[in-house]
């Protein structure tokens, strides 16, 4: 049951969860605003989304301690939809995304994550970090030097404030950064962009709203492609974040429940005027680091975020964008997997290629799903190539006019040609024995290759004997092979 949780998941770590939830909420505010700006909607859309998603996922999610809210990965996919059709269509697409994710949960698609290799995950994480960074650039181009100075000062505060004794360890430095920079810009009256310039901020609690779109097929065809993309990226990032949280806390998560939970959370967000979101890698790390482990941490983050936003709305408007940019650069740095750059030398070239290809495709298309698709495809090809090398054919002359070939290893589409090439058809012999006791035939390409070899030898006038096929090989050959069936042989030999 999706609403049932262990009591310990909620109340097992009250102090740690509440404190961590507050720290996370403070960092969620700038992120939600920044991601709304990426998507091209008012900051309130992202803020409502973050509140709804965090609160709902706390109850229905499958990974206690993970933070979900409005995210950059999702925001990037919405840009065109918002530009061409407006906010209402985004809300409708958010609802559909939720429905698709719930279906994915019931189809147990979470288990497909096993095809996503470590290199692809690293590539995804790095690409995400780069995208978050790139998304800050519009705020840093064509601006006065004040903005650069403010951003630099912000980063300085974020990374140096924790070194202060006592205070540094107990007050979240991103908060200090935002508060100090806001006060500074007010005091000296700088003419720089603030959050208030970026669009409407929430002034009330979110209200229930059915998206104002015509309910017809035209609408469906507009939103469906976006919803599919959002559903895939949302689940990918959520599953990857769940893995990271699993590793950090040494506990297990329920992936299929998480898929359904993400769906329910997105439906909730869509109905309360928020954009689609998913799990956040950076925020989840901050939560764990701050001592958050249970569902209570996620719900605290959501509720505290709403309180902050609704009651401090007037103050939020004064925050200079430079302060948000500094926080987002921190998130980008913290998300990037620096060890992956360091380890590139020691890791196999193929995995580095997969990682880099994933990053390049994502940065090029701004679509994390495409990057993962390319990464998974490449890893599969590299794997097939590696396994195809585990195939050796040894030949010996066992008797007068009798040649024995001993095949060892895996024969499948990638090694089939190599298998055929290993036989010497020019040699004139009476009898050929092919020993398959250490070989494994995986697919019809392999079976086809064996057929070809057998038939070629027969045409040269040799008697062919297949020996020692192990059981697995025998079953595949029985299913697909044609060389025992004269009609089929004839068909194959004539080429049609």
């Amino acid at each position: 049951m999706i609403f049932l949780s262990k009591k310990a998941d909620w109340l097992g770590n009250i102090r740690g969860d509440v404190l961590a939830g507050i720290v996370v909420a403070l960092a969620l505010v700038p992120e939600a605003i920044a991601f709304s700006i990426i998507a091209g909607v008012d900051p309130k859309v992202g803020l409502y989304a973050s509140f709804c998603i965090a609160t709902i996922i706390a109850i229905v999610g499958g990974r206690p301690g993970m933070i979900s809210a409005a995210t950059g990965a999702m925001a990037l996919l919405m840009v065109t939809l918002v530009k061409e059709h407006g906010l209402e269509y985004l809300l409708a697409a958010t609802l559909l995304t939720g429905v698709l994710q719930i279906i994915a949960g019931y189809l147990k698609l979470g288990s497909l994550m096993r095809f996503v290799s470590r290199s692809v995950v690293t590539g995804f994480v790095n690409a995400l970090a780069i995208l978050i960074f790139l998304a800050q650039l519009p705020e840093l181009t064509n601006v006065t030097w004040h903005v650069y100075a403010m951003t630099a000062a912000g980063l300085g505060i974020i990374y140096l404030f924790p070194y202060l004794p006592v205070l540094g360890k107990n007050i979240p430095s991103p908060l200090v950064c935002i508060v100090l920079l806001t006060i500074l810009s007010q005091v000296i009256g700088l003419e720089i962009r603030t959050v208030g310039d970026m669009g409407e901020l929430p002034d009330t609690l979110p209200i229930f709203l059915w998206p104002d779109v015509p309910l017809n097929m035209t609408t469906l065809w507009i939103i469906l492609p976006y919803s599919i993309g959002l559903a895939i990226v949302g689940l990918l990032e959520s599953m990857m974040t769940a893995t990271i949280v699993d590793d950090l806390t040494d506990t297990k998560s329920d992936r299929n429940r998480e898929c359904k939970g993400q769906g329910i959370a997105n439906i909730g967000a869509g109905l309360l005027g928020g954009m689609a979101g998913c799990a956040m890698i950076g925020q989840s790390i901050i939560n764990i680091k701050s001592g958050g482990r249970g569902r209570l941490s996620t719900i605290t983050a959501g509720i505290f975020l709403l309180i902050l936003v609704v009651f401090l709305g007037e103050w939020l408007k004064q925050i200079p964008m430079a302060a948000l940019v500094a926080v987002m650069i921190m998130v980008s740095i913290g998300t990037f997997s620096w060890s992956s750059i360091r380890d590139m030398k020691s890791h196999p070239l193929s995995s580095s290629i997969v990682m880099v290809a994933t990053v390049i495709v994502v940065v090029g298309t701004h679509n994390l799903a495409m990057g993962v698709f390319v990464g998974v495809l490449l890893s599969a090809l590299f794997f097939a190539n590696k396994i195809s090398r585990f195939m050796v054919v040894k030949q010996t002359m066992t008797a007068e006019q009798m040649r024995t070939y001993k095949v060892t290893g895996q024969i499948f589409f990638a090694s089939a040609d190599k298998f055929v090439d290993a036989f010497d058809f020019q040699e004139v012999v009476d009898k050929v024995s092919i020993d398959l006791s250490h070989a494994h035939f995986w697919d019809i390409s392999a079976v086809g290759a064996l057929d070809k070899v057998v038939i070629k030898f027969r045409r040269e006038g040799a008697v062919v004997e297949l020996v020692g096929m192990n059981d697995a090989t025998a079953t595949v050959i029985d299913k697909f092979a044609v060389h025992n069936d004269p009609a089929a042989v004839e068909k194959m030999m004539t080429g049609h």
Binding site: N13, A20, F161, S173, D247, I288, K289, M330, W338, S339
Partner: protein
């Protein structure tokens, strides 16, 4: 299907769980397995409220948390071994021949569910660690355990004395008849006086079934004291329980559906919470 599996933790219940298991082991002539599970507590000390993530944030955090876990884990394992050794020594002294001990990481409900194929009977303490001295506190996991396993569960009280009589709450449902059969087949309670108690409800033919149950128990050699009462199930059972100094209670698991229980609570859980004697839940 042949072991008495007893869950030992470091609460004040350990001795009583051990004694209950020894009693069951002797009555049923089955071996004992003492189980201790190392449940993970959320790590503290990694709390860092700076809210910042910098270069290599993930790997350094992982490193830090692994070290904390390692320290805690070693300590907990050592303590668990000592607890198990004490229990084994006690069982040895009581003359039990075959004793096994096992330590598992993770939740004890999951550990027990995994061992279910080997279990004849599971013995758990009424309250687990973290509930020391809290009189009504039922171990948070007992309800989950009863739902998850299909083996009979004995819930041990704070201190164990061998029961000379027992109360069977019989409501005439099919489950209750199965429970009756298990008592007759089981042998755990041979020779003890049986208080057969039925609280009138709207089950059909309840009175006849009650009479049949009484006759069956008597035929099987139990000394039966049968009472057919009226009133609220829980209150009447508790009143009878106190009035007759009942030494052990036997119940079938949860009569209500999960949804109903969510709103109404269940008589089973209330009985477990309020009985200061061993209580057996049969599935």
């Amino acid at each position: 299907m042949n072991k008495i599996i007893a869950c030992i933790d470091d609460s004040h219940m350990a001795t009583s769980v051990c004694d209950t298991a020894i009693w069951a082991s002797k009555r049923l002539a089955k071996p004992i397995m003492f189980l201790h599970t190392l449940e993970k507590t959320p790590q503290h000390g990694a709390d860092d409220l700076t809210g910042t993530i910098g270069l290599g944030a993930r790997s350094s955090l992982l490193e830090k948390m692994a070290i904390l876990d390692e320290e805690q884990g070693k300590e907990a394992m050592q303590m668990g071994n000592e607890l198990l050794a004490t229990a084994v020594a006690r069982a040895n002294a009581a003359g039990i021949k075959t004793i096994e001990q096992k330590q598992r990481h993770g939740d004890f409900v999951e550990a027990l569910a995994a061992l279910e194929a080997e279990a004849r009977l599971m013995v758990v303490g009424r309250s687990g660690q973290g509930h020391q001295g809290d009189f009504k506190a039922v171990g948070a996991h007992i309800e989950r355990l009863i739902r998850q396993v299909n083996t009979a569960v004995v819930i041990a009280p704070e201190s164990f004395t061998e029961p000379r009589n027992f109360m069977l709450a019989y409501d005439g449902r099919q489950v209750a008849d199965e429970v009756l059969q298990r008592i007759i087949d089981g042998g755990l309670l041979k020779g003890a006086t049986c208080h057969l108690v039925t609280i009138e409800n709207n089950e059909r033919n309840q009175k006849e079934k009650f009479q049949q149950a009484k006759t069956r128990l008597a035929e099987e050699g139990f000394e039966v004291i049968a009472s057919y009462l009226q009133g609220d199930i829980y209150a009447s059972l508790m009143e009878y329980y106190h009035e007759h100094n009942i030494a052990l209670v036997i119940m079938g698991a949860f009569a209500h559906s999960k949804v109903r229980q969510f709103f109404l609570g269940s008589n089973t859980m209330r009985m477990i919470e309020n009985c200061q004697t061993p209580l057996i839940v049969l599935k």
